[in-house]
Amino acid sequence: MTRPGLTACALLLSALSAGAASTAHADSLEEIFARANTAYFGGDFDAAAESYGELVELGVVDADVAFNLATSEARRGRYGAAVQHYERALWLRPGDDDAAAGLEEARGALARRRARQQGEAEVDSGPPLAEAVFGGVSRDALAIGVVVFELVLFGALFGLLFVRRESARLLLGIVAPLSGIVFLVCGVGLALRSGWLEEGPPAIVLAEGAPLREGPSRVADERHRALEGQRAWVLGAEDGFSLVRVPGLGEGWIADEQLGLVRPPNQ
């Protein structure tokens, strides 16, 4: 057989084997989820976290998966990752009591561990402004409020342009500012919940003492060291590093594997 023929056969065989392999591993999402649950119940939290992570990589954006992943990470002692995914679960399903309780528990565990190791500890336990004010309201509800009250506001203004009856003008004059206020509140809430007023996507530091460097390189000088579970805002990304700003510390480049985005990508 000529060389091209051998090459073609090799390629064909590899394609077939890859196909077979991919077929053999192409479990359905339900199967992966069930496997992850079984691993969790069996005490194999590593396998459970891996399977839940696989679902996330396959594009599953679900509050229950995020919650289970966070719980598995917490069982593994990886509280930073747990905080990241609990916050994601809350972002996907505002007001989720289980996720809120898990988040508080994870932060508390972080603090206790750090206190044992360092004598004292301080953990960022306060929720961001958006969560504090609008935590129980979904983005969709705020979006609907924005659209509806904006239409009411401009509709009232439109009416004031043409209506001549005093009583009608009086009514429109009351409706317009009230609807304007509600429109503004919903707009601010939507902006906060969507992160439009943030300097960047929120993230959580996953490793204790993760270095913040001068540049996107492992050899760059360290500026600061971030704590596990600390909140950060991603300002940019380059070469496997993300430029972040950590409140109380400053800015710096951190390796992507030491940082976890709260919101799923492209959301």
Binding site: L29, E30, F33, A34, N37, T38, Y40, F41, G42, G43, F45, D46, L55, G59, V60, V61, D62, D64, V65, F67, N68, T71, S72, A74, R75, R76, G77, R78, A82, L92, D98, G102, E105, A106, G108, A109, R112, R113, R116, R139, D140, A143, I144, V146, V147, E150, L151, L153, F154, G155, L157, F158, L161, F162, L190, S194, P264, Q267
Partner: protein
């Protein structure tokens, strides 16, 4: 002297005319006397003549000639004799092909003749309740009546029996000629009606106890004896407190007020002959009824007759093992979690829904090595729509997985017998699988990178608690928030665009008015006409305050259109000065000001203003507006 020939005459001699008349009278008197004597003798013979049977009728009828096997039907025999009723004897037909369930006989009713004579009419009635045990065509022989030495017979009757037993509908009053196990009493009686004469064990039998009363009841009758239901499981179908409502029904020739005293579902618990005992009560007739001679005593005790029911056992052929539910049944089962840590508990919920004696339904706890199943918590919700007992029974089992593994639970099955079709089926809830994994749940954190636990377990006291995880998930791939939808920005822009469009329209309109000065007055006249039309409407509706407001507005619109600026903020003197300054005729100015002042005054003291006055005002306003329309104002800067 000469001689004439001789003639002869005959003369009769007798009594004189007066004497003849007297003789005739005497003859007539004698005739009348004899006649009277004969009549007197005849009246003396009357009793003897009345003692003989002059007429008799015998009727035999059934309520239906086509019946199903096992169904009940009624035979009614009535004998009416005029004469020696007391000696009449009724022979009932041969009832051999049928089973006699009950028999009742009304006492003979005698009616005495008037006018001094004695004439007796006697009516005797028999009611027989029977059942056809097998299919076929059967002939009832004629009934016979022997009275006064003569025999009277009825016509024979043919009964067609076929098919299976069908229960009679309980929804309405049974026909008047169906009387079950009772003693007919024209003043009132109790009737116990059963819709199934031969049910299966566990099949619902609806029992209704009726009270037939000649008069309206005064208050609720006192039931001194409830119907006995030994051998049945019973459920009432009527609310505990209710008002007795009556219906009218004629039984024979008597109309009664019929009340439902009791209605209940009885489920026989064993085969064989069972009895629904008779009900006894004391009823009080309506006082008015008594005044009108309705008869009867103020208080009447009444007792119903028991009804026999033949309960059939369930067929052995094809009978599944276990307790069989008679009626309808469906099962559903679910686990609150399908995966659980070993030692954790899950809830298995089994819901049984159907008809029949649902309270007798039992679901045994599933048994399996490695599972501990506790006795269930049972919740019932029963009802009886259309008098058929049914509902749902929910069993909640607590299941504890004591060992890791996969546990198939079920399928859960209950055998069911459908009495209507006479068939067995099995109600089934599909099997479920419970997966238990790992050791018993540990509160401590495990795995690498976790916190260290001290030897004395000091950290155990503060060990965090995470979980349990969620075993259900929609596994959605996208979180399509509204904000991310492509149409959202357009929805946001819609409001400002609308307002902007309104601004542009208004600007264009103003621009057009500046370019064409006649536009404003035309529009103003149009508006003024609109206000006048509204004022006319207020006249029709007799709303003087609104009327004068509309007239004033119409005048102001017209003035604004001609002057080119609003006049609403001007006082009347200022308006008058403005109009004079713009060249309006003094008379017209005065008329306009008078009208506006009149409108203002009338608006706030419009009591007693009539339609005619308003109409006159409207006419004046119209004239003024036409004057204003003809007015050409001097430009302001002049």
């Amino acid at each position: 002297m000469s001689s004439l020939p001789a003639t002869s005459t005959t003369t009769r001699t007798g009594p004189p005319p007066e004497a003849r008349l007297g003789e005739r009278a005497r003859r007539a008197a004698r005739f009348v006397a004899r006649l009277l004597a004969l009549l007197l003798l005849g009246s003396l013979w009357a009793p003897e003549a009345g003692a003989q049977v002059t007429r008799a009728t015998l009727t035999m009828r059934v309520d239906r000639t086509n019946v199903e096997v096992g169904a009940l039907f009624r035979l009614h025999v009535e004998a009416r004799v005029t004469g020696a009723g007391g000696n009449a004897q009724v022979r009932l037909p041969d009832l051999a092909p049928f089973e006699l369930i009950s028999r009742s006989e009304s006492p003979p009713v005698q009616i005495m003749g008037l006018g001094g004579g004695v004439r007796v009419d006697t009516t005797t009635r028999y009611q027989l309740t029977m059942r056809a045990p097998r299919a076929g065509t059967f002939t009832l022989s004629p009934a016979s009546l022997v009275a006064g030495g003569r025999t009277f017979t009825s016509e024979p009757l043919t009964i067609q029996v076929g098919g299976g037993a069908e229960p009679s509908g309980p929804a309405s009053l049974p026909p008047g000629n169906q009387v079950d196990g009772m003693q007919f009493d024209p003043d009132g009686f109790i009737r116990t009606w059963v819709d199934q004469a031969s049910p299966y064990v566990g099949q619902q039998v609806t029992v209704t106890v009726y009270l037939y009363s000649r008069g309206r009841l005064r208050g609720t009758p006192t039931i001194t004896q409830e119907p006995t239901t030994e051998g049945f499981w019973v459920q009432d179908l009527l609310p505990p407190s209710r008002t007795l409502q009556d219906e009218r029904q004629t039984v024979g020739n008597t109309t009664f007020n019929v009340y439902v005293l009791r209605r209940f579902a009885a489920f026989p618990l064993q085969p064989g002959e069972l009895m629904i005992g008779g009900t006894a009560l004391t009823l009080t007739q309506n006082a008015l009824f008594q005044i009108l001679g309705g008869g009867g005593e103020p208080e009447l005790p009444r007792a119903g007759s028991p009804v026999r029911i033949t309960v059939r056992p369930l067929p052995e052929e094809g009978r599944p093992p276990g307790d069989v539910h008679v009626g309808e049944l469906s099962l559903a089962a679910e686990l609150d979690r399908s995966q659980v840590a070993t030692g954790d508990a899950v809830t298995l919920t089994v819901t049984a829904t159907g008809r029949g004696a649902m309270e007798q339904v039992r679901i045994p706890p599933p048994t399996m090595d490695g599972l501990r199943v506790l006795e269930p918590e049972i919740r019932d919700s029963f009802g009886h729509p259309d008098d058929v007992v049914g509902g749902a029974r929910v069993f909640r089992f607590l299941v504890v997985a004591e060992r890791a593994g996969d546990y198939p639970l079920g399928p859960i099955e209950v055998p069911v017998f459908n009495a209507t079709h006479g068939r067995y089926t099995v109600a089934r809830a599909p099997a479920l699988t419970l997966t238990a994994a790992g050791n018993a749940v540990d509160e401590d954190v495990g795995g690498g990178g976790g916190e260290a636990t001290s030897a004395n377990g000091g950290s155990r006291a503060t060990a965090p608690s995470f979980g349990p995880i969620h075993t259900h998930s929609e596994l959605s791939r996208s979180h399509g928030a509204l904000v991310t939808q492509p149409w959202f920005p357009f929805a946001i822009a819609l409001g400002p665009l609308l307002f902007l469009g309104g601004l542009l329209v208004r600007r264009a309109r103003q621009q057009a008015e500046r370019e064409d000065p006649s536009r404003a007055p035309k529009r103003a006249r149009k508006l003024a006409k609109k206000h006048l039309a509204a004022a006319r409407g207020h006249v029709d509706a007799d709303e003087p305050r609104e009327f004068y407001a509309a007239v004033a507005q119409a005048l102001k619109e017209a003035l604004e259109g001609q002057l080119g600026h609003p006049v609403g903020s001007l006082t009347h003197p200022e308006l008058g000065a403005t109009l004079r300054g713009r060249g309006m005729d003094e008379q017209v100015v005065g008329a306009i000001l008078d009208e506006l002042e009149g409108c203002d005054f009338a608006r706030f003291s419009a009591v007693g203003v009539g339609a005619e006055e308003m109409q006159v005002c409207l006419t004046r306003a119209r004239t003024l507006i036409e004057s204003v329309a003809r007015f050409v104002p001097i430009p302001e800067d002049e």
